[in-house]
Symmetry: C2
């Protein structure tokens, strides 16, 4: 099964739009790293929370992507805008619609 990742991050007040824009801008480049899905969402109930839902060919593809120069650069831009509070769920993707 493909590797799934569902995570949330808290942004410093007033910076959510900037974080969301940076994550969306970086998503297309992940395809060649083995990413099939990278959905960026804003919490409907907490104005400082961003959710990502990801599907990768494998966990190894996901982990390797963190070493790509463009991904490291994106992390470097976003991290100063975050509070450091994260949630993280790793999954095995069974299937569904739109994959």
């Amino acid at each position: 099964m493909r590797y799934g990742y569902i995570g949330s991050m808290k942004v410093k007040p007033g910076h959510r739009a900037e974080v969301v824009a940076a994550l969306v801008a970086g998503a297309d480049g992940l395809r060649r790293a083995g990413c099939d899905l990278y959905v960026v969402s804003e919490s409907a109930t907490d104005e400082d929370t961003v959710w990502v839902s990801e599907v990768w060919e494998s966990r190894e593809h996901h982990d390797a992507s963190l070493q790509l120069p463009e991904v490291k650069a994106s992390i470097g831009r976003v991290m100063p805008l975050l509070t450091g509070e994260f949630t993280r769920q790793e999954t095995h993707v069974a299937g569904g619609l739109g994959l």
Copy 2:
């Protein structure tokens, strides 16, 4: 922005594969109800937890889908296999890869 839903459900021990299969089987039919994405995953760390990650044209499309006969039938099949423990996050979908 499109409506997003990230949820988890606990299954009664030994029933996860059955629940996952039922959810995956029902996913294709959701497209005509305004669903763009319906990813069904198994937790990598808890053998009794199933995750769903959904994107809909709008919250109204999502809510209306719960009244469709095939969705009601699917819920009726799955609910007896669940413990009743759910988590639920509603989001506004900003974009990303694979949508």
